[in-house]
Symmetry: C2
Subunit: 136 residues, 2 copies
């Protein structure tokens, strides 16, 4: 969908996101955190409004795994990557499943945007934004 | 917060986002759409899950203005810009206010991520992701 300036950087970013999603499925915290900045800014599906830094980011995954079914469903349904030499963003539709506080099992499609910067030659996740549409 | 590679591009992106937010406050559709790609991919606060293309993007603003107070509140509370020569992303906390279907007036903080690409020398918005945390 988006024109891309650099196919090899796009492939590296795609690989990073696919590896990260696989780490989520494996509940592998080291893999989940591997490519993230100490200054990661996380906008997650549940509250709070924002989480800053790796420790707060890690806690959002503890919350997710408390909710998620086992084995964990965490699939990339569709993903667009836009990247240059040093900055990239990814917009994706994702799928997961878990148990609500009501006890109900649900399959959820959600939206994911990731912002990355190449620092010292390594693609690094600076920002993630996960959400579902608001219901009123 | 983020290291930036190019101050003049960062200033151009900041100016674009500030002008766009001002256009929202003025209900100026031409200004809202001025820097957007025909292929804009929008993840909005209310459903649907995603909106593709300028016409669908325009409709998300008609929905917003039907909800928003008049005069429109649409403020940038905090904004981080990460940019290179040709790709940028913006992560922001925003504030707006409107009337719920219940009739209740609410002030709302929300999260905004914007992805941009410089095409033929013009910074162009390819992607927006607006959300509030889910409540269960």
């Amino acid at each position: 969908m988006y024109p891309n300036r650099n196919a090899s950087h796009e492939a590296a970013v795609r690989h990073l996101i696919e590896d990260w999603a696989a780490a989520v499925r494996a509940k592998d915290f080291a893999g989940i955190l591997r490519h993230h900045s100490p200054e990661i800014l996380m906008f997650d599906v549940p509250p709070p409004l924002q989480s800053k830094g790796l420790e707060a980011y890690r806690r959002t995954w503890e919350l997710f795994f408390a909710w998620a079914h086992d084995p964990v469903v965490y699939d990339i349904v569709a993903m667009n990557i836009t990247c240059d030499e040093n900055v990239a963003f990814v917009a994706a539709v994702m799928r997961c499943s878990g148990k609500e506080t009501s006890g109900e099992d649900i399959d959820l499609k959600f939206r994911l945007t990731v912002g990355l910067q190449r620092i010292d030659g390594r693609w690094t996740v600076m920002h993630e934004h996960h959400s579902i549409p608001a219901t009123q």
